[in-house]
């Protein structure tokens, strides 16, 4: 059996021009596939209000739906290396997209609570598969297309797709829920169609992993432990994101009296888009961490004030979301940067993976 290395193959041999073109188009196909799988992670967020009204679901039940998704994502992220070693990075992405299509198919066809739980469990599997593989695959495709290219740009695109997609999903679902007649069906059908396009693109994309002749022993993968402050910082940053993402729909409908699904989706898009923009900044890691912390604290303070005013303020609420999103993106990038600076090169891929699983 062949095995695929867990680290990007930076020193790949020279590739003929036709293959380079194939790798370049494969990069676009992989980025698109990654985008739609990650978008499904947050796709139902503006729809939970509809589920809650339709089936009289409690806040705790919705919380269990979130927890099931997070649990399955983390479980798959832990095993992702061994999966991509067996079926390759392209194979893993194909399985991730196919699994995502099954998940949204279940959500579209079975709208009761068991269907919602199973659909989100399967969504977590697809997100875990894609999140653990896609960025490495993108870097390798980019380096095969242009061996002189910097892997940093591919990594930046991968990071932007990861967080940006989390905003794109609720924006699409919120707008469709607002303006189509079957809000709990149409958003999912749209993503089944997008998934079919992604499958076709990935089918034509080349495999990249350096094929090893021997299977690596199980203990050869570097095991890393994040320093406690780094793990706590990442956890806190994404808790703030989760707090806003989870409660914004409820606040908009009840406290702020704006029951628009499109607005609920747009609020989440703003949160995650600001996270992408802040991650594109090229600052020193320690400065990034400090600025991110200040932004997040200001956002949390504004959020509390905006919903506790005698006349709750929508603009203040949205600015709070933007500051929290930008802050959490900066804290994540700063924390990861500080840990990477202090780590040996062979541990860096594993550290990034560990940070990703904490952020989930």
């Amino acid at each position: 059996m062949t095995a695929v290395s867990a680290t990007p193959d930076v020193n790949a041999p020279a590739v003929p021009t036709a293959q380079r073109r194939q790798h370049r188009s494969g990069f676009g196909a992989a980025a698109f596939a990654f985008l739609i799988v990650m978008a499904v992670a947050t796709l139902p967020s503006p729809l939970y209000g509809l589920y809650r009204t339709r089936d009289h679901l409690s806040a705790l039940t919705i919380t269990v739906v979130f927890a099931i998704f997070a649990g399955s994502t983390i479980a798959v992220l832990q095993r992702d290396s061994s999966i991509s070693a067996r079926i390759g990075r392209r194979g893993t992405m194909l399985v991730a997209v196919a699994t995502m299509m099954i998940a949204v198919g279940v959500l579209a066809a079975w709208k009761d609570l068991p269907g919602l739980l199973i659909g989100r469990l399967v969504t977590g599997v697809s997100v875990g598969l894609a999140a653990g593989t896609a960025i490495t695959y993108l870097i390798e495709l980019r380096l095969r297309a242009d061996p002189k290219a910097s892997p940093v740009r591919a990594r930046t695109i991968g990071t932007a797709v990861t967080i940006g997609a989390l905003g794109v999903g609720p924006l699409i679902a919120g707008c469709l829920a607002q303006w189509v007649t079957q809000p709990l069906t149409v958003p999912y059908l749209v993503f089944i169609a997008l998934g079919a396009i992604a499958l076709i693109g990935l089918w034509a994309a080349p495999e990249t992993g350096p094929l090893a002749t021997e299977k690596k022993p199980a203990g050869s993968r570097p095991k890393v432990r994040l320093p406690v402050p780094a793990a706590a910082g990442t956890l806190a940053a994404f808790s703030a994101n989760g707090l806003f993402a989870g409660l914004s729909g409820l606040f908009l409908a009840t406290t702020l009296h704006h029951a628009s699904h499109a607005l609920a989706g747009a609020a989440l898009f703003l949160l995650f888009a600001c996270g992408v923009v802040s991650q594109l900044a090229t600052l020193q890691a320690s400065r990034m961490l400090a600025l991110g912390t200040v932004s997040m604290l200001a956002g949390l303070a504004l959020l509390v004030v905006s919903v506790r005013l005698s006349t709750p303020n929508l603009a203040m609420f949205l600015i709070a979301g933007a500051l929290i999103g930008a802050g959490s993106g900066a804290v994540f990038k700063g924390t990861t940067g500080i840990v990477l600076e202090a780590s040996p090169p062979e541990s860096r891929v594993a550290i990034r993976r560990t940070c990703s699983s904490h952020s989930t």
Partner: protein, 44 residues
């Protein structure tokens, strides 16, 4: 998110749930950031 959902289910109002969790998350970010920057400066 999960904590806030449990708090709401136990009867906390949404503004109170946000206040409580904002304080927790804010403290977590500040303490973690402080510790991480301290470790970085202590490194040779």
């Amino acid at each position: 998110m999960i904590g806030a959902g449990v708090a709401l289910d136990l009867g906390a109002s949404a503004p109170n749930a946000v206040l409580g969790f904002a304080i927790l998350v804010g403290l977590g970010v500040v303490v973690a950031g402080w510790a991480l920057l301290g470790r970085q400066q202590a490194r040779p």
